[in-house]
């Protein structure tokens, strides 16, 4: 015999009172189930209300606005079908932004994943100073990017920056990295790799720890004595699913790049460093082209959702390996 489910202590009396009223038609078990459902909805209610108001209705709002000519502040609007999307994809600036984002992602993701794996393997291959090396490489991931981007600007300064001074000292060509349209995206990508490689490293370290020792013993019996043999026959194949997952996670982070662009380049020179989120921000809140901006948001959303669904599938499969 268990006590009835009650939300608050004083609910005892209330549920007992209502229990008397319904007791003739319902069993105690059903009454308990009903009380449990009431308690559950009261506990979950605030979260459900806020999820609706702050996530679901807004995303429906964006989807609707993208098909209208609404401008923020205007009293009326009309549906214009796909006109905003046609305009977005015909727009020079948006196409540049999309292309820049793709290039940025194609530099940042392989760079981050390769560096993260390399450093994770190095850290795991020995026993000393593991925590120290892990902390040092993870540090940029904790840094407020807006603030540390200013330090990067100083490093990349054309005359007094450490980068150009070093390059000049060893006789290599220098550049005005953040003001030259040929180098600005690469410079931002280096900052992106710098910030995220510690994140990839930590995820790889977790993946490495979950490889069963048996496999190394078996490889040993089969004659894989050398570190490199064990890496090739056991470690890398076993990291496969984790790596796929890390690629997706890092891609999502690269797509979310905004702070460094806003602080250092404002998308310039020209449109050379404009990325999707920056375009979304500018069209939404500086140019106030609401319908057009909503269409960009929908494009961005479809990219992110596609990737996240891929990630969910990878996660499902990962369970079999880990």
């Amino acid at each position: 015999m268990s006590r009835p489910v009650t939300l608050f202590g004083w609910f005892d009396a209330a549920s007992a009172a209502s229990g008397i009223a319904v007791s003739r038609t319902t069993s105690p078990a059903r009454r308990r189930a009903f009380a449990e459902a009431v308690a559950a909805w009261i506990l979950a209610g605030p979260a459900v209300f806020l999820l609706l108001g702050l996530f679901l209705l807004p995303v429906i709002g964006v989807l609707l606005i993208a098909f209208t000519d609404w401008q923020f502040g205007a009293g009326s609007f009309s549906f214009v079908g796909l006109a905003n999307f046609r305009e977005v994809f015909a727009d020079h600036a948006f196409r540049a932004s999309l292309l820049n984002t793709v290039i940025y992602v194609l530099i940042v993701v392989p760079g981050t994943v390769a560096m993260g794996l390399f450093i994770a393997l190095l850290i795991e291959s020995g026993k000393s100073c593991r925590a120290f090396y892990r902390a040092v490489h993870f540090l940029p991931f904790m840094a407020t990017l807006t603030a540390i981007a200013i330090a990067w600007e100083a490093l990349l300064h054309p005359t007094i920056g450490l980068v150009n001074q070093t390059l000049a000292a060893i006789g290599l060509p220098t550049s005005n990295w953040l003001r030259d349209e040929n180098t600005v995206l690469a410079a931002l990508a280096v900052i992106g790799i710098w910030q995220n490689l510690g994140y990839a490293m930590v995820l790889f370290l977790a993946g490495l720890k979950s490889i069963p020792q048996d496999l190394y013993d078996a490889a040993d019996v089969d004659g894989a004595d050398l570190w490199f043999d064990r890496l090739r026959t056991v470690t890398l194949p076993m990291l496969g699913p984790v790596s796929m997952f890390i690629v997706v996670v890092v891609t999502l982070r690269a797509l979310n790049s905004f702070d460094a662009v806003k602080v250092l380049t404002q998308g310039g020179p020209g449109h050379a460093s404009e990325v999707l989120l920056y375009t979304l921000y500018r069209e939404s809140f500086e140019y106030l082209r609401t319908g057009y901006a909503a269409a960009i948001a929908v494009v961005f959303l479809s990219i992110v959702v596609t990737l996240t669904l891929v990630q969910a599938r990878v996660m499902d499969r990962k369970v079999h390996y880990l």
Binding site: T6, A44, I150
Partner: protein
């Protein structure tokens, strides 16, 4: 353990340290350069030199200027206030919902879980436009409320708590009910204290995310007195137009420092919090 097997030759061991010290050193360059510039006088900043320590120590002047010329302490107070308010509200709202999803059986549970998963899927920047309109309609833009309200419920928080609550045996809940505890008391007196690791991990995730966020504050507030650190330092940089590196770097150092110090003090917790469900 694993790939190491204690069989790295002495030479390979030394090579490992050499490479990791090199990459680690390169990783630290922006931090070192930032601190170095923050203690140099203007003359030395613009004299192209590779020395890290200034000939004339100018740290006091630079940091004083950063704290007085920009309302930096105000920014950091704002950041603290917003992070604390967001976190407290998130826990108050997410924990009971996660408990209901993990431990109670009721009609609509799968529907709520579906809403949480959709919420997890949505990048927050996509929602900024309608949230801005909502803030405008409610008349709360350009206030602390504007900075806080989009984040009071966290799909990630609900999901993380639910995963953790599910690992707590049902017997614990039954025993608490036999003791006469209400569901409300079970959440706050039994379940949340037992799930402290998850609460700490989520707190770190939440505070780091909101201390560092630039996008939404940029949209939500205009008054300098309301700005959190990232937005404040961006405004400071634009006002200085990059001419006065010393105080700017001092301000950047002060904004970056709290999280880095907290991270170094509680490394394990931070790694767990920042990788969240990803690792498990």
């Amino acid at each position: 353990m694993s790939i190491a097997n204690n069989r790295l030759s002495p030479l390979a061991g030394i090579l490992r340290h050499a490479v990791l010290l090199l990459t680690g050193g390169l990783i630290l360059v922006p931090f070192v350069w930032m601190v170095s510039l923050s203690i140099k006088p203007p003359g030395e900043v613009f004299r192209a030199s590779l020395s890290l320590w200034p000939a004339q120590f100018y740290g006091v002047e630079n940091y004083t200027k950063a704290l007085t010329e920009a309302p930096l302490l105000r920014y950091m107070g704002n950041g603290l206030l917003v992070c604390a308010a967001v976190l407290v509200l998130q826990i108050i709202i997410c924990a009971p919902c996660a408990y209901a999803l993990a431990k109670l059986r009721f009609a609509g549970r799968d529907l709520i879980l579906g809403m949480v998963l959709i919420g997890l899927l949505l990048p927050h920047q996509v929602l900024s436009l309608p949230l801005f309109v909502l803030g405008y309609l409610l008349g709360i833009l350009n206030s602390y409320t504007a900075l806080i309200f989009p984040y009071v419920v966290s799909p990630f928080g609900i999901f993380l708590f639910r995963q953790f609550f599910k690992t707590i045996p049902d017997d614990v809940v039954h025993a608490a009910r036999l003791d006469g505890l209400s569901e409300f008391a079970i959440v706050w007196r039994i379940i949340v204290p037992m799930a402290l690791p998850a609460v700490i991990a989520f707190s770190i995730f939440s505070v780091v995310a909101h201390w560092n966020d630039l996008f939404w504050p940029l949209v939500a507030v205009r008054d300098q007195s309301l700005m959190p650190p990232p937005l404040g330092i961006m405004v400071f940089k634009n006002e200085e137009a990059g001419n006065d590196y010393g105080p700017l770097m001092a301000a950047a150092t002060l904004v970056v420092a709290p999280l880095l110090i907290a991270f170094l003090a509680a490394q394990k917790w931070f790694v767990e919090g920042m990788t969240g469900g990803a690792v498990k």
